[in-house]
Amino acid sequence: DAGITQSPRHKVTETGTPVTLRCHQTENHRYMYWYRQDPGHGLRLIHYSYGVKDTDKGEVSDGYSVSRSKTEDFLLTLESATSSQTSVYFCAIRPMNTGELFFGEGSRLTVL
Protein backbone atom coordinates (compact mmCIF):
# COMPACT_ATOMS: atom_id res chain seq x y z
CA ASP A 1 0.00 0.00 0.00
CA ALA A 2 1.16 3.51 -0.78
CA GLY A 3 0.74 4.84 2.78
CA ILE A 4 -1.79 7.49 1.89
CA THR A 5 -5.03 8.07 3.77
CA GLN A 6 -7.85 10.50 3.25
CA SER A 7 -10.35 11.77 5.80
CA PRO A 8 -13.22 11.94 6.03
CA ARG A 9 -14.14 9.24 3.53
CA HIS A 10 -17.71 10.44 3.34
CA LYS A 11 -19.25 13.78 4.21
CA VAL A 12 -22.63 15.40 3.71
CA THR A 13 -22.84 19.12 4.30
CA GLU A 14 -25.02 22.08 3.49
CA THR A 15 -24.42 24.87 1.01
CA GLY A 16 -22.37 27.70 2.51
CA THR A 17 -20.58 25.68 5.16
CA PRO A 18 -16.79 25.29 5.24
CA VAL A 19 -15.32 21.86 4.60
CA THR A 20 -11.78 20.58 5.01
CA LEU A 21 -10.52 17.32 3.56
CA ARG A 22 -7.28 15.87 4.82
CA CYS A 23 -4.69 13.84 2.99
CA HIS A 24 -2.01 12.16 5.07
CA GLN A 25 1.01 10.27 3.75
CA THR A 26 3.67 8.23 5.52
CA GLU A 27 6.06 8.11 2.55
CA ASN A 28 7.71 11.52 2.94
CA HIS A 29 7.13 12.42 -0.72
CA ARG A 30 7.37 16.04 -1.74
CA TYR A 31 4.68 16.07 -4.40
CA MET A 32 1.04 15.86 -3.41
CA TYR A 33 -2.10 16.51 -5.44
CA TRP A 34 -5.82 16.99 -5.08
CA TYR A 35 -8.10 15.86 -7.88
CA ARG A 36 -11.85 15.79 -8.20
CA GLN A 37 -13.69 13.15 -10.18
CA ASP A 38 -17.07 13.71 -11.73
CA PRO A 39 -19.03 11.64 -14.27
CA GLY A 40 -18.09 12.64 -17.79
CA HIS A 41 -15.11 14.72 -16.64
CA GLY A 42 -12.58 12.19 -15.50
CA LEU A 43 -9.98 13.40 -13.01
CA ARG A 44 -9.34 17.13 -12.82
CA LEU A 45 -6.50 18.73 -10.90
CA ILE A 46 -7.53 21.20 -8.20
CA HIS A 47 -4.25 22.09 -6.47
CA TYR A 48 -0.86 20.54 -6.04
CA SER A 49 2.15 20.96 -3.79
CA TYR A 50 5.88 20.75 -4.35
CA GLY A 51 6.65 20.71 -0.65
CA VAL A 52 5.95 22.41 2.65
CA LYS A 53 4.27 25.79 2.10
CA ASP A 54 4.77 25.45 -1.66
CA THR A 55 1.48 25.02 -3.51
CA ASP A 56 0.03 25.94 -6.87
CA LYS A 57 -3.31 25.97 -8.67
CA GLY A 58 -4.60 23.35 -11.04
CA GLU A 59 -7.24 23.65 -13.74
CA VAL A 60 -10.29 23.77 -11.40
CA SER A 61 -9.00 25.68 -8.38
CA ASP A 62 -11.80 28.25 -8.03
CA GLY A 63 -13.59 27.84 -4.70
CA TYR A 64 -10.78 25.76 -3.18
CA SER A 65 -7.74 26.53 -1.10
CA VAL A 66 -4.99 24.25 0.19
CA SER A 67 -2.37 24.24 2.88
CA ARG A 68 0.72 22.18 3.52
CA SER A 69 2.38 23.00 6.80
CA LYS A 70 3.96 19.55 7.15
CA THR A 71 5.34 17.17 4.54
CA GLU A 72 2.87 14.47 5.49
CA ASP A 73 -0.36 16.50 5.37
CA PHE A 74 -2.08 18.26 2.49
CA LEU A 75 -5.39 19.91 3.34
CA LEU A 76 -8.08 20.91 0.88
CA THR A 77 -10.57 23.53 2.06
CA LEU A 78 -13.85 24.61 0.60
CA GLU A 79 -14.45 27.96 2.28
CA SER A 80 -18.15 28.00 1.42
CA ALA A 81 -19.33 24.78 -0.14
CA THR A 82 -21.65 24.85 -3.15
CA SER A 83 -23.68 22.08 -4.75
CA SER A 84 -21.33 22.14 -7.76
CA GLN A 85 -18.58 20.92 -5.44
CA THR A 86 -20.40 17.65 -4.81
CA SER A 87 -17.84 15.18 -6.05
CA VAL A 88 -15.37 12.48 -5.18
CA TYR A 89 -12.04 13.96 -4.17
CA PHE A 90 -8.81 12.03 -4.58
CA CYS A 91 -5.49 12.87 -3.07
CA ALA A 92 -2.35 11.54 -4.72
CA ILE A 93 1.35 11.42 -3.98
CA ARG A 94 4.16 11.16 -6.45
CA PRO A 95 7.66 9.82 -5.85
CA MET A 96 10.29 11.90 -7.59
CA ASN A 97 12.26 8.97 -8.87
CA THR A 98 9.44 7.05 -10.58
CA GLY A 99 6.79 9.56 -11.55
CA GLU A 100 3.58 7.62 -11.16
CA LEU A 101 0.75 8.80 -8.95
CA PHE A 102 -0.43 6.83 -5.94
CA PHE A 103 -4.00 7.66 -5.04
CA GLY A 104 -5.83 7.62 -1.76
CA GLU A 105 -9.15 5.87 -1.54
CA GLY A 106 -11.13 9.04 -2.08
CA SER A 107 -13.46 11.30 -0.12
CA ARG A 108 -17.06 11.48 -1.26
CA LEU A 109 -18.51 14.92 -0.56
CA THR A 110 -22.18 15.76 -0.96
CA VAL A 111 -23.26 19.39 -0.68
CA LEU A 112 -27.01 19.81 -0.22
Binding site: G40, G42, Y48, E100, L101, F103, E105
Partner: protein, 110 residues
Protein backbone atom coordinates in the same frame (compact mmCIF):
# COMPACT_ATOMS: atom_id res chain seq x y z
CA UNK B 1 -3.29 24.23 -22.01
CA UNK B 2 -2.62 20.61 -22.71
CA UNK B 3 -5.66 18.50 -23.55
CA UNK B 4 -5.85 14.74 -23.61
CA UNK B 5 -8.75 13.16 -25.46
CA UNK B 6 -9.69 9.55 -24.86
CA UNK B 7 -12.06 7.37 -26.87
CA UNK B 8 -14.38 5.62 -26.66
CA UNK B 9 -16.13 6.81 -23.53
CA UNK B 10 -17.87 3.46 -23.07
CA UNK B 11 -17.12 0.04 -24.54
CA UNK B 12 -19.30 -3.01 -24.13
CA UNK B 13 -17.69 -6.33 -25.01
CA UNK B 14 -18.50 -9.99 -24.60
CA UNK B 15 -16.14 -11.82 -22.32
CA UNK B 16 -13.28 -13.14 -24.42
CA UNK B 17 -13.41 -10.33 -26.96
CA UNK B 18 -10.61 -7.83 -27.36
CA UNK B 19 -10.75 -4.21 -26.19
CA UNK B 20 -8.85 -1.09 -27.21
CA UNK B 21 -8.89 2.45 -25.86
CA UNK B 22 -7.16 5.36 -27.57
CA UNK B 23 -5.63 8.51 -26.20
CA UNK B 24 -4.71 11.64 -28.19
CA UNK B 25 -2.97 14.76 -27.00
CA UNK B 26 -3.04 18.25 -28.44
CA UNK B 27 0.67 18.60 -27.66
CA UNK B 28 3.73 16.38 -27.64
CA UNK B 29 3.97 14.45 -24.40
CA UNK B 30 7.10 13.78 -22.40
CA UNK B 31 5.53 10.52 -21.27
CA UNK B 32 2.17 8.85 -20.93
CA UNK B 33 0.80 6.83 -18.07
CA UNK B 34 -2.15 4.47 -17.86
CA UNK B 35 -4.32 3.86 -14.84
CA UNK B 36 -7.16 1.48 -14.05
CA UNK B 37 -10.01 2.26 -11.69
CA UNK B 38 -12.31 -0.52 -10.55
CA UNK B 39 -15.94 0.42 -9.81
CA UNK B 40 -16.03 2.19 -6.44
CA UNK B 41 -12.25 2.21 -6.20
CA UNK B 42 -9.38 4.56 -6.78
CA UNK B 43 -7.13 4.84 -9.83
CA UNK B 44 -4.20 2.43 -9.82
CA UNK B 45 -1.09 2.91 -11.91
CA UNK B 46 -0.54 0.38 -14.68
CA UNK B 47 2.41 1.57 -16.73
CA UNK B 48 4.42 4.50 -18.02
CA UNK B 49 5.69 4.91 -21.59
CA UNK B 50 8.48 7.35 -22.34
CA UNK B 51 10.07 6.60 -25.70
CA UNK B 52 8.69 7.36 -29.13
CA UNK B 53 7.13 4.22 -30.62
CA UNK B 54 7.48 2.30 -27.37
CA UNK B 55 5.45 -0.88 -26.89
CA UNK B 56 5.10 -2.61 -23.55
CA UNK B 57 3.16 -5.70 -22.56
CA UNK B 58 1.72 -6.86 -19.28
CA UNK B 59 0.21 -10.31 -19.78
CA UNK B 60 -2.91 -9.65 -21.90
CA UNK B 61 -2.42 -5.86 -21.94
CA UNK B 62 -0.41 -4.13 -24.67
CA UNK B 63 0.47 -0.45 -24.42
CA UNK B 64 1.76 1.66 -27.29
CA UNK B 65 3.16 5.18 -27.49
CA UNK B 66 2.99 6.86 -30.87
CA UNK B 67 5.99 7.87 -32.91
CA UNK B 68 5.14 11.55 -32.50
CA UNK B 69 4.50 11.08 -28.77
CA UNK B 70 1.02 12.56 -29.15
CA UNK B 71 -1.06 9.40 -28.99
CA UNK B 72 -1.23 6.12 -27.17
CA UNK B 73 -3.35 3.01 -26.96
CA UNK B 74 -4.15 0.23 -24.55
CA UNK B 75 -5.23 -3.11 -25.97
CA UNK B 76 -6.58 -5.99 -23.91
CA UNK B 77 -6.66 -9.42 -25.52
CA UNK B 78 -9.43 -11.84 -24.59
CA UNK B 79 -11.09 -9.78 -21.90
CA UNK B 80 -12.01 -11.31 -18.56
CA UNK B 81 -14.52 -10.13 -15.97
CA UNK B 82 -11.61 -8.92 -13.83
CA UNK B 83 -10.83 -6.35 -16.54
CA UNK B 84 -14.00 -4.40 -15.76
CA UNK B 85 -13.36 -0.79 -14.82
CA UNK B 86 -12.37 2.56 -16.21
CA UNK B 87 -9.06 3.00 -17.96
CA UNK B 88 -7.43 6.43 -17.93
CA UNK B 89 -4.53 7.72 -19.91
CA UNK B 90 -2.53 10.54 -18.45
CA UNK B 91 -0.01 12.74 -20.20
CA UNK B 92 2.58 15.19 -19.03
CA UNK B 93 5.47 14.85 -16.71
CA UNK B 94 6.21 17.94 -14.70
CA UNK B 95 5.59 18.48 -11.03
CA UNK B 96 2.34 20.24 -11.83
CA UNK B 97 0.47 17.02 -12.01
CA UNK B 98 -0.63 15.04 -15.00
CA UNK B 99 -3.44 15.72 -17.46
CA UNK B 100 -5.92 12.90 -17.48
CA UNK B 101 -8.18 11.79 -20.28
CA UNK B 102 -11.83 11.33 -19.34
CA UNK B 103 -11.44 7.58 -19.31
CA UNK B 104 -12.95 4.61 -21.10
CA UNK B 105 -15.47 2.55 -19.16
CA UNK B 106 -15.09 -1.13 -20.01
CA UNK B 107 -18.25 -3.16 -19.48
CA UNK B 108 -17.98 -6.91 -19.96
CA UNK B 109 -20.96 -9.14 -20.61
CA UNK B 110 -20.44 -12.75 -19.59
Amino acid sequence: GQQVMQIPQYQHVQEGEDFTTYCNSSTTLSNIQWYKQRPGGHPVFLIQLVKSGEVKKQKRLTFQFGEAKKNSSLHITATQTTDVGTYFCCGGGGADGLTFGKGTHLIIQP
